[in-house]
């Protein structure tokens, strides 16, 4: 089972892992990751998420297929928000199901690492104090070098 969605409104991140396991007795483990919009100590009003419609879904699907190829996964779900997201709201949910825990954990981590660097989404900060971040005067969040490092810890192939 593969569930891939880009959504413009709030969503229930807990529903994804449950959907992968519902009605099955071959799933021994699910791992669910949820990424949330943080308030940055009260300075952030909202994050605005721009995306490339069509390519975003295609890239999420490609990442899911690659995870299924690398580990014996019985299900993968990826949901990503676009639009305006407030502190405390979910941005992304990734869930994996497998017979055993190692594959479920590795699959979910792999998908998150690749989503960060390869899925066409861009975050812009709307700050509560109207004071621009000096490292990003136009509000667009800069990519983190750590994200490239996280991606490259997975061997090719």
């Amino acid at each position: 089972m593969r569930r891939i969605r880009v959504v413009g409104d709030g969503f229930d991140p807990a529903a994804e892992a449950e959907a992968l396991q519902a009605g099955r007795v071959d799933v021994g483990a699910t791992v669910s990751f949820v990424g949330y919009c943080r308030g940055e100590a009260g300075t952030l009003a909202a994050l605005e998420l721009e995306h490339f419609p069509g390519m975003a879904e295609a890239e999420m699907e490609r990442i899911a297929i690659e995870a299924e190829r690398r580990w014996p996964l019985l299900g993968v779900a990826i949901v990503h928000r676009h639009g305006l997201v407030r502190p405390g709201e979910p941005i992304v949910a990734v869930a994996t199901a497998s017979a055993h825990r190692a594959a479920a954990f590795a699959g979910a981590e792999f998908i998150m690492d690749f989503l960060k660097t390869d899925a066409p989404f861009w975050k812009r900060e709307h700050r509560r104090d109207q004071v621009a971040d000096p490292t990003s005067p136009d509000g667009w969040v800069a990519a983190k070098p750590g994200d490239d490092a996280a991606r490259s810890r997975w061997p090719e192939g």
């Binding site: 990424g35 390869d118 066409p120 994200d147």
Partner: protein, 83 residues
């Protein structure tokens, strides 16, 4: 071919999308970027730092050396920051 711009590339160019016709010889992703840079200050600002802007051909990531032949759509955008 159709060109799409996202995030600060879109803002600097001042357009979300447009039809472009790269001349003969402008046959790779990187060559299209260099050619666009020469079309005006807005494009120059968008493509100012080589290596910063990423591209996709027909909705697949494409490095600068990839040939554009046969592609109907080329997209330019900053490094991704989703997830």
């Amino acid at each position: 071919m159709r060109a799409l711009y996202f995030a600060w590339v879109r803002e600097r160019v001042g357009l979300a999308e447009e039809e472009i016709a790269p001349p003969p010889g402008v046959d790779t992703v990187g060559a299209v970027m260099a050619w666009l840079s020469g079309r005006g200050d807005n494009y120059a600002a968008a493509f100012a730092q080589p290596g910063t802007v990423r591209a996709a051909l027909d909705r697949r990531h494409a490095k600068p050396d990839v040939a554009i032949a046969g592609a109907r759509e080329i997209a330019f955008f900053p490094p991704m920051t989703g997830g």
